[in-house]
Symmetry: C2
Subunit: 268 residues, 2 copies
Amino acid sequence: MPSPVVRSEWGLVTTKVQGDRLTNSSGIEVGSGNADIIDADRVDVQRGKASLEQLAREFSSGYRSVGSMVYEVLKDAILSGALAPGEKLRQETLAEAIGVSRLPVRSALIQLEAEGLVIFHERRGAMVSTLSEEQVREIYELRTVLEGFALREAIRTMTPDRLARLRALAIDADAQGEGHAFVEARNRFYDELYGGESRPMLTQIIADLRLKVGGYLLGRRMDSVHGHSHGALVDVVAGGDADAAVDVLARHLQAVCDGVVLLLEPRD
Amino acid sequence: MPSPVVRSEWGLVTTKVQGDRLTNSSGIEVGSGNADIIDADRVDVQRGKASLEQLAREFSSGYRSVGSMVYEVLKDAILSGALAPGEKLRQETLAEAIGVSRLPVRSALIQLEAEGLVIFHERRGAMVSTLSEEQVREIYELRTVLEGFALREAIRTMTPDRLARLRALAIDADAQGEGHAFVEARNRFYDELYGGESRPMLTQIIADLRLKVGGYLLGRRMDSVHGHSHGALVDVVAGGDADAAVDVLARHLQAVCDGVVLLLEPRD
DNA sequence: AGACTGGATTCTGGATCCAAAATACGACAG
DNA sequence: CTGTCGTATTTTGGATCCAGAATCCAGTCT
């Protein structure tokens, strides 16, 4: 089990800490080993502010506008599980933590809302999107349809050099562990496979659908994901049998979908 | 400099302040009063501003937040062609035209950017999105894939009462002329056909794809659209042959796609 | 005469301030 | 003791103000 220590360093837990027990709204205990650090009510905010400033500095290189930086930071926080699904997002707290004004935070939240990662309640603020089982199943249903089409097109127009590039990217993705590097490598692989340059909207829609469930995967890679290496997918694609490849893909997505559904309810 | 007259007049939308003569209009009075203030050296901006004021008047009541109202106004302006593709969107001009501050305009623009209707250039402002021929063809390719799937599912799970509702909605849509009423009726029809309530994301994605080309259709309904009545589609669906229905749909989309491509370049 | 550079103007993006609404807490009454 | 109403605090949404960047125009140099 991956240790949640890194997550606790974000300090973006917005629930009030009245006692010595520090949990976020999803009930996941945040850094039990760091519980003794918490002395006063504001300590978590202080810690979060310090970490986020450091992380904002880390993210700040290469970003021209503050709003886009905040957007990346918040997206990363949601996808990494630092901001749990259902968690209330107070603009003031986020702004203080990142070290900017509330305005770019609002801009970033609007962008994230359009992507479906957060939802706004009228005058009641924003929260990280939660997914019902029906929504998860629809997401994977749509992914099956879209990625099936993309895969058929990829096989239909496959060239030797592109297959070579795919193999290299697959090896790279399978070599990565968890976290950022894996996600990046996986995205590069699927971008190449699904014709990211020739069909930008398709790859964008697929990426958005994949993002929506990102918050539920937290840091953990499920067995079904592990069992399905990208190299194997390349092998099926290289075979040239579109139906077989789509079948492999559909089974894989179905397995991942079932795993995500199980993660929705912690009780099992 | 146009002095902001009654900007502090709150309760614009929801609650009506004990206004003397001003009803729950969100700064519409201000907008109409400032109609002649804009510099007259840009005629196209003049035209856009007048249209925006008209739209703002129409959309004035029934919205809780000013930002959402601005969003609806701008979206309608883009889809109706009042703001042409490629047109530069200056926040100050838009804000004055609608009669609000620049901030809700920025929020609305961010939302519209996420939907793909406008694009932001780094420090150079926003403009209405333009579509290349490749993008148009990809849009209709994806619509064929998604709507084909949706249509098959609809036929698979069709019930008599739903067929009856579809027929009523088709008659309603075919009876409408152009403009708002037609778009609304058409959306209701496809919402019912594609299972809007059971597959919200699918219908949302399809609607977004349809929106992207809305600005190029302007007010004109092409012959191919005219020739394909919604009632005929219902008849094919009622037949129960999924392959035939998908084929009809694909041909229709292909025809519309070709028509839109022709509209991209005025030369023919 | 044309091109390059520097300044001025304009526009975007960010911060701070203010008004309104919702929620939470407390007081009072049944 | 409990439920309801009123007030106060919190928080969101909007407007105005300010700084930085980009563009445009003019002046000068080649």
